[in-house]
């Protein structure tokens, strides 16, 4: 299957310039369905109420574009805020949403990906990179959780032919969006099926486990 035949679903998030990101993926030959934002170059953009319900959104993608080959979730990076003296309820809600939204999208995509016994899931996030900086407890919690999610799903879904990885970058000093898009393209491409449970760090030194 060529890049132009594969359907890549991208869940939009605030940590990337989504238009640049989608434009680059499309220029690589990806057929992109974007959920949660509107970008002209995407083959399909889903926003509004449909975007809030992952199962509905993915059904629309299948109906209009065909089977989904890969799912890319751009995750949230909560802004800096002190923990002590901060708004803990807001902290909890922010972190909870940032963990739950990608999980719900992944869960909704599994029947589709399993049916083809082939698929890729890529999260885009900050990894552990922010966890050593003051005021970043929320971002560190989100991405600690996502790292564990990626590694767990990598182990669990591999036997279904689904490879799960994370593209990691320093949200305080982000690399060019094009490089992030190219890394996603590689991980979703035909030669990366054996890359499983990895944190691929872009623009910064790689990171070891804590």
């Amino acid at each position: 299957m060529t890049g132009s035949e594969r359907v890549m679903v991208v869940m939009a998030g605030p940590s990337l310039d989504i238009e640049q990101f989608i434009d680059r993926l499309v220029a690589q030959g990806e057929r992109v369905a974007l959920i949660g934002a509107q970008v002209d170059s995407a083959a399909l953009s889903i926003s509004g109420d449909d975007a809030l319900e992952p199962t509905v959104a993915l059904q629309r993608v299948e109906q209009e574009l065909g089977p989904v080959a890969s799912l890319v979730c751009v995750t949230a990076v909560p802004p800096p805020a002190p923990f002590v003296g901060g708004e803990i309820d807001h902290w909890s809600a922010t972190v909870g949403d940032a963990l739950t939204q990608p999980f719900q999208m992944i869960r909704a995509s599994l029947p589709n990906l399993r049916r083809n016994h082939s698929g890729r899931i890529v999260l885009i996030g900050a990894g552990w990179l922010l966890s050593g900086r003051p005021g970043r407890t929320a971002a560190a919690a989100v991405h600690g959780g996502l790292v564990a999610l990626v590694k767990t799903l990598g182990r669990e879904l591999g036997r279904d032919g689904i490879s799960v990885n994370e593209v990691v970058f320093d949200a305080d000093h982000p690399p060019p969006v094009a490089v992030i898009a190219d890394t996603v393209g590689y991980l979703c491409g035909p030669y990366a099926a054996g890359v499983v449970g990895q944190l691929v760090t872009v623009g910064s030194p790689g990171e070891a486990r804590p």
Binding site: S92, Q104, A141
Partner: protein
């Protein structure tokens, strides 16, 4: 070094072992748990409920004094394939494991900061570091605790309040059902030490981090019998 310690989840499993260990070392322990614990002060509280945690702290301070140490061991575990985890299971795991940890920290740490002294040990999991299979919601919450711990450790480093984490491997506690695959020989034989971690080993790791002032900040220590190396 001794003083007043709050241990969440002290009624059973790792929390009970940690409370026992600290008591044996001379600490005055307040056990915060939904169920009664054997700690010197047993406070029944839902650690994810901010107001209830505030009341638990008030009772602890009134009875034993200001906490010098906090150990967040309250947690739940279950195995469910990723595609079958429903919203209720996901939310419950987040609430108890992550938000419970965060609420206890948010209540206790400001007093430590005011006094310029204190030690916090979160209980995360080896699965939060290396991932697992069949427990995506649990591993996610434990990974989040690792990230939170590292961030908090840096944020508080200048206050002389130290934050570290113990990330146990599969442990021989009631949290693991008798027929759990973690107890199966097929799993144990993959471990360098070919056995589950004992609760007293985990409790000792917690006590070690608490009692070695100024030497450990933001550490994630994994008694795991070699599960993740």
């Amino acid at each position: 070094m001794t003083g007043v310690a709050v241990v969440t989840g002290a009624a059973s499993g790792l929390g009970a072992a940690i409370a026992d260990e600290l008591t044996g070392r001379g600490w005055r322990v307040a056990g915060w748990d939904l169920n009664p614990s054997a700690a010197e002060l047993s406070v029944q509280v839902d650690v994810a409920d901010r107001d209830a945690v505030a009341r638990a702290l008030e009772e602890t301070v009134g009875t034993l004094g200001e906490p010098d140490t906090l150990v967040t061991a309250a947690g739940i575990y279950e195995m469910v394939p990723a595609g079958e985890i429903n919203d209720t299971q996901w939310d419950r795991m987040l609430r108890v494991n992550l938000i419970g940890t965060v609420q206890a920290c948010a209540a206790v740490i400001p007093g430590m900061v005011r006094r310029g002294s204190g030690s916090v040990v979160t209980i995360s999991s080896d699965l939060g570091v290396g991932g697992s299979e069949g427990d995506a919601h649990y591993a996610t919450t434990k990974g989040a605790i690792v990230g939170f711990t590292r961030g908090l450790a840096v944020e508080l480093a200048g206050t002389r309040v130290r934050v570290n984490s113990v990330a146990p491997g599969a442990a021989d506690t009631p949290m693991l059902a008798g027929d759990s695959p973690w107890r199966a020989e097929t799993f144990l034989s993959t471990l360098p030490l070919a056995r589950l971690v004992r609760p007293d080993e985990i409790a000792a790791a917690v006590a070690f981090l608490i009692e070695h002032e100024d030497h450990f900040v933001g550490v994630v220590l994994s008694p795991n019998c070699g599960a993740t190396i």
